[in-house]
């Protein structure tokens, strides 16, 4: 064993010695910003990353990426790795609002600004800036348009809502925004189904299928995220309920996010309204927060994107602000997502 140990030591030293050779370090101009996503499972995040890359490049920044795959501990490690790389800023999309707090503290200790994109952290003494869409208000506006449409058509409505993962504050706020409006209109709308999707398309499919089997007269449907549209379409087609606005039996349909599939369905007339998170604005706000912090300012901990609603009436006026439309247009006038 003695011989092997000696050889191992010699080999290790030789290998480690190569690290001491003059190294090529890429010349870096401007700032380096880390983009730490927890996943890229929906078009919203994929588009968000693309927009960040474009805008970051335009700013002359070097961007580093890391995806944690929903692993809070791995994301904490990634934050530490970025601190070790002495980045100038960390943009993070965390999975858990509480588990991210040690990462914020670590960034604070290293004096590196941290911005949370789209999901704020839980309350703590650590300082970071969060950019978030005004989910509740955008949902209220979307559902209000749907209610107005229902009133215009007349009759009574049976409603169904597809709720997201209630561990995600965005899902809670969208659910609350829906009920804010529906509860004021109980004379014409009765909520007969609440489908807990946990942001899982398969659960959305199965849950909506069950809801429609139990309540085949559902004619008012809101989904807390557009990524579930393909499953919704599939289920409604099964029940022969996938109808355009001007067709008999149309289900008043509203969504949230504003992806390319949603834009296609607006154009086709299946979707009545969609709450849009202004992804371009949110990226601008996040990057501006970095620049403010680099300049020694201390922005508010929570900055809100007011968002907007795209409807059948205003689609031609507001679509340029809709990230899904840009994706749709770049893809030759058709959606990438289902």
């Amino acid at each position: 064993m003695k011989l092997a140990r000696r050889e191992f030591t010699i080999g290790s030293l030789l290998a480690a010695g190569t690290a001491g050779l003059p190294i090529m370090v890429k010349a870096q101009e401007g700032k380096t910003v880390a983009l730490l996503f927890d996943s890229l499972v929906s078009p919203f995040w994929v588009s968000g990353l693309e927009i960040m890359k474009e805008k970051g490049k335009a700013n002359g920044w070097e961007l580093l990426e890391n995806i944690s795959n929903f692993d809070d501990n791995k994301q904490f490690e990634q934050v530490k790795a970025m601190i070790a790389r002495k980045v100038d800023g960390i943009l993070i999309i965390q999975t858990d609002s509480k588990a991210v707090i040690p990462a914020i503290r670590a960034a604070n200790e290293a004096n590196i600004p941290m911005v949370h994109f789209n999901r704020p952290p839980a309350e703590s003494d650590a300082y970071s800036v969060a950019i978030q869409a005004d989910n509740r208000q955008i949902t209220r506006d979307t559902v209000q348009f749907m209610v107005d449409e229902a009133k215009r058509r007349g009759g009574q409505y049976k409603a169904c809502i597809l709720i997201g993962d209630l561990g995600d504050v965005n899902a809670i706020q969208r659910r609350d925004g829906f009920f804010d409006i529906v509860d004021q209109n109980q004379d014409i709308i009765e909520v007969v189904a609440r489908v807990a999707t946990e942001w899982n398309a398969d659960k959305a499919f199965a849950g909506l299928m069950n809801a429609l089997q139990a309540n085949p007269d559902i004619n008012f449907l809101f989904t807390s995220s557009d990524f579930m549209h393909p499953q919704i379409q599939q289920v409604l087609e099964t029940f022969d309920m996938w109808k355009k606005r001007d067709e008999e039996g149309h289900v008043i349909f509203g969504g949230f996010d504003g992806d390319d599939g949603a834009y296609q369905r607006i154009v086709d007339g299946y979707l009545d309204a969609c709450g849009v998170q202004n992804l371009f604005l949110e990226v601008d706000m996040a990057f501006q927060a970095f620049q403010d912090m680099w300049a020694g300012k201390k922005p508010e901990k929570l900055l809100m994107d007011p968002g907007f609603v795209i409807t059948q009436e205003n689609k031609d006026q507001v679509r340029d602000e809709m990230w899904g439309y840009i994706v749709w247009e770049k893809n030759g006038g058709k959606p990438i997502s289902g």
Binding site: F8, A16, N66, A81
Partner: protein, 347 residues
């Protein structure tokens, strides 16, 4: 086979007279050497990988993985497998955090040392209980460990989410853990992670149990040939049962460190590290077919995987790049290991 016999199998390759590369290939330090080579290569691109802070982070990240992998080693050595280790992490994280949380938990107002002690016991008891269930199903009902632990993995992963939903308003995670508990995962002693002391204790105990005790000899004997072991008087069922209990308890202890690091009991803790847990043991040299294991090998395997991860994190590449490089590095390690086995086979 005894541990001594296992070591003898490794020795022929180390015999003097063989070329250096061959002796290195056959050495039990091969994985450690590959780690050094990887670090040296990475240092050309990201010199930060050589920084002391980075190595402190690597150590802190490796420790809980190492503890789960050591537990896994006890099961692998009897030719079993514990796929439920990751769900034990999640389930004990949630239940343990529920016990010690200062946000309406049952121990609010109790002395800190008591809270921490009860908390650690709760984490380990949950893990040990799941391990005992796995062990009982495997030994009493002769069920395949793969099926037993796969189903317990599914059950306890779901149970962790269900319990969290019951215990919290937002259904996501349990916070407000006491500072004294958080110290276990975040504290430092002489600039090293405090949890290193726990890992050293676990490693030492595991080494003694595996290589210097009758229990360890029974484990190896069962892993090589359970029928022969039974004929020789080894209490096969009882020994296997305790191997699963140890695996569960180790996962519970690792959950203590993970939970303390994140200051949060979360039902998704460790859900995606199963490959790392089994990989750390197997890459280090522990056999999936039983009868071959050493704590030091698991240390090397866990270190290798953690260093690979850290290097890729430092690179800040896109997801596709990370998958390609990590897959390539592990494949390379597997190829080298296969060559090693081939050479060993030739004697």
């Amino acid at each position: 086979m005894t541990p001594a016999q296992t070591t003898r199998l490794d020795r022929p390759g180390l015999a003097p007279g063989l070329p250096l590369w061959r002796r290195l290939l056959l050495s039990e330090y091969l994985v450690l050497f590959l780690t050094v080579v990887y670090v040296a290569g990475m240092a050309l691109i990201v010199p930060e990988i050589l920084a002391a802070d980075t190595w402190r982070d690597i150590l802190a990240a490796m420790i809980p993985l190492l503890i789960v992998a050591i537990g896994q080693m006890f099961v692998l050595v009897v030719a079993g497998i514990d796929l439920s280790a990751t769900s034990v992490l999640a389930f004990s994280s949630v239940l343990g955090a529920a016990v010690i949380t200062m946000d309406g938990g049952p121990l609010v107002g109790m002395p800190a040392f008591l809270v921490v002690a009860v908390g650690i016991l709760a984490f380990m008891a949950v893990g040990g209980a799941v391990g005992a269930f796995n062990g009982a199903c495997t030994t009493r009902f002769n069920m395949p460990p793969f099926i037993v632990t796969l189903t317990t993995m599914m059950f306890f992963s779901g149970a962790a989410i269900w319990v969290t939903t019951l215990l919290t308003d937002d259904g996501s995670s349990i916070g407000s853990l006491p500072r004294e508990f958080v110290f276990i995962g975040q504290g430092r002693v002489f600039e090293l992670p405090f949890s290193l002391l726990i890992a050293l204790a676990v490693g030492l105990l595991a080494h003694v149990a595996l290589s210097h005790s009758l229990f360890g000899r029974w484990l190896f004997a069962i892993g090589i040939n359970p029928n022969a072991a039974a004929v020789s008087g080894v209490p096969v069922r009882r020994t296997m049962f305790w191997a699963y209990v140890i695996s569960g308890a180790c996962a519970g202890l690792a959950a203590v460190i993970y939970t303390a690091r994140l200051e949060t009991g979360t039902p998704v803790l460790g859900q995606r590290i199963l490959l790392d847990v089994v990989g750390a043991a197997v890459i280090g040299g522990v056999s999936l077919f039983g009868g071959k294991a050493k704590v030091l090998w698991v240390v090397f395997g866990a270190l290798f995987l953690t260093v690979v991860d850290k290097g890729l994190q430092l690179l800040g590449l896109s997801l596709a790049g990370v998958f390609a490089i990590k897959g390539g590095v592990i494949l390379l390690a597997a190829i080298v290991d296969a060559q090693r086995q081939r050479l060993k086979g030739r004697g």
